[in-house]
Amino acid sequence: MRISEQAKQLCRARILEKAAELFSARGFDQTTTRDIALAAGVAAGTMFNYFPSKETMAMTMVNEALARGRDEFLTRLEGGESLEEELFLLIGSELRRLRPLRPFLGPVLERSLSPFPRRNICREGETARQEHLECVRHIMERHGFAASPEDVSCTIYWSLYLGILASWTGDGSENQEASRALIDYAIRTFVQMISGATRGGDHVR
């Protein structure tokens, strides 16, 4: 018997929902795929057809939240924002959507977004990187900067962004307000750097 696409979607959503509950309640590392399958009422084998690992589950939630955040960012744009402000708004909107997942995000992001080469790269982690950078590239283009995903400025941007995520996931201050100052600093540093680069830099004569 073939199950319908709708039933598949419902099953997938149920797995994600139960996984999120368990991750939040027990922590990411303390939750096993067996626990999730049990809670979602599916066989472990069936669950692996949807998600090959719990990292994939968590990163799927992350990517969905980030995508919603980016949509929101576009609706919040008023026009007239500086490059710094647009980037700040983008990251702010994304993080606001990520906030419900924050309790268990630390180990998830550490594994899936690590800049160090890993044997089992989580595809969803790479998706998160590409989609975020794509949005950043559009913003930069709007402000007259060219950037390709593999160039130096994108690499540096991504390092700063990972630093922000790392700080934000562990930020115990109310509304993660301590990270807000860090985001501001990181963005200004980045914009200052690429602005300097477009002028050729001091060492290039």
Binding site: E84, E85, R180, L182, D184, R188
Partner: protein, 479 residues
């Protein structure tokens, strides 16, 4: 730094660091002013408060070490070459401080206080004024929007009929934007820098760490108590709801006939991090002075400022712990606006009792009782323990502070001789390192210094005793 610099010099240095007050001799003050200017003029490339987060306490420690080095060496009668070297260190320290944390605020406040006494300083200092009064680490509008979402769950333009994206003034912990309510009123919206309370805590922790190894001797306990006091008041300042409640108390103690306006608070648009009050039209001290106001007008505002502070002191036992020119709005109709009640301190029952006893002894001209009270408030058991020199110097400062209480008729706060005597007495106390006292005196000193600085610049006069008698309810003329 000369090798035989006695420990006493270190105590002076620490005292100066603690109070961050401009009490050094004029020459040093001028150089310091130049350094502050050079730091203030060079706008840091990033939002200053954020730097502390990324560079963390390491930078703060380096900064404090620099500053300590400078403070130690500056008092050490160093020769010219040494002096220049130590100034290089100070410059580095100031530049670091200027990029980080709440200590940037302290650097700015130091500048503000220096700026209140321009006659004692060369012309170049005057150029500092606008930069220091309204130069604060900026938040761009995107950041303001995020703060609003956290605080209200709504964006500024959803909350207000209109909201100016650019701040019109800096506040000690944030910035102020003009906005209009849907009901039509023009309001001032003060927004706090994210994470500032933590920054204050970290800064003060660093300051304590810095001071720990400097062997403060007998006064160390007192310094710790004072730092705790500073931290308590500064952290209280980060709670805008507390400020709103205080502003309401003050507002209730004035009537329209007084000519003093305390802006109304809009609680529905206020949280711990955002404070919305009525917007008062008018100008600050500098702009007011630029209009070459008549003596009559200067006297009127001096009268109103004295009345306002007296009423707060005698009715609510509160001090404006950091009165600076930015607190006063000279309104077009001749009324005085009082804004920004963030940095305030209520006297405890015991502290108030000392205040009352000092006034009574003073008005009775009871020198013996005055001496007893000076010893008590300097936290000594007896005059012998306190020492004659310390007793006399502290006595001079306290008597200067209280001089208007003893003067019948019009008191001239613009009198240069009076002002200089006070500054000199305080400088002498600082040079000697006689800083021991009740922690509340950090604020009473700032209160008197700040307020006297403003009325001095105003060259204003008023019948101080008459206001005092009315406000304190002590109607009898002194014997």
């Amino acid at each position: 730094m000369s090798a035989n610099a006695p420990n006493r010099k270190g105590i002076e240095a620490r005292a100066a660091l603690l109070d961050l007050m401009p009490r050094q001799e004029e020459d040093a003050r001028r150089r310091l002013a130049e350094l502050v200017e050079s730091v203030a003029a060079r706008r840091p490339p990033t939002t200053s408060f954020s730097r502390l987060c990324i560079l963390g306490s390491l930078q703060a420690k380096v900064t404090c070490a620099y500053l300590a080095y400078w403070l130690r060496s500056r008092w050490a009668d160093a020769d010219e070459r040494e002096r220049l070297k130590s100034e290089t260190h100070l410059k580095a320290a100031l530049e670091l401080l200027g990029t980080m944390g709440y200590l940037r605020g302290a650097v700015m406040k130091l500048g503000q206080m220096l700026a209140t006494f321009p006659d004692a300083l060369p012309d170049e200092f005057a150029r500092l004024l606008p930069a220091l009064h309204f130069e604060a680490p900026p938040m761009h509008y995107a950041m303001v929007r995020e703060v609003f979402l956290d605080e209200f769950g709504r964006e500024p333009h959803e909350l207000f009929a209109s909201f100016e994206k650019e701040a019109f003034a800096a506040a000690s912990l944030g910035q102020v934007h003009r906005a209009r309510l849907h009901s039509g009123e023009l309001v001032a919206v003060k927004i706090q820098y994210p994470g500032i309370a933590r920054t204050i805590e970290a800064d003060l922790k660093n300051l304590r760490l810095l001071m720990q190894p400097m062997r403060l001797g007998e006064d160390w306990g007192n310094v710790v108590a004072k730092l705790a006091e500073v931290e308590r008041v500064l952290l209280a300042e980060t709670d805008y709801l507390a400020e709103a409640s205080f502003a309401q108390t003050v507002r209730d103690s004035f009537t329209p006939e007084d000519g003093i306006v305390i802006p109304r608070v809009y609680p529905e648009y206020s949280t711990r991090r955002v404070l919305t009050t009525e917007y008062l039209a008018g100008v600050h001290l500098e702009e007011f002075l630029a209009t070459a106001p008549s003596q009559e007008l200067r006297d009127r505002y001096t009268h109103l400022m004295t009345l306002a502070t007296m009423r707060m002191l005698y009715r609510t036992h509160w001090l404006l712990a950091d009165p600076n020119p930015g607190n006063y709005i000279f309104m077009p109709d001749g009324r005085l606006g009082l804004v920004d009640f963030g940095c305030t301190r209520q006297l405890t029952e015991e502290e108030w009792q000392v205040q009352v006893e000092v006034e009574e002894a003073l008005l009775r001209r009871d020198e013996k009782e005055m001496e007893r009270l000076i010893v008590k408030s300097s936290l000594y058991e007896s005059a012998e323990q306190m020492g004659r020199e310390r007793l006399e110097l502290i006595g001079t400062v306290i008597r200067w502070q209280l001089e208007p209480w003893l003067t019948e008729g019009i008191f001239d706060f613009g009198d240069e001789d009076f002002f200089r005597r006070g500054m000199e007495a305080m400088a002498a106390v600082t040079r000697k390192g006689f800083m021991r006292g009740m922690p509340v005196h950090i604020w009473t000193t700032r209160f008197v210094l700040g307020a006297r600085g403003v009325v001095y610049r105003l060259k204003g006069r008023c019948d101080f005793q008459d206001i005092y008698r009315r406000e304190s309810g002590r109607n009898k003329a002194p014997a």
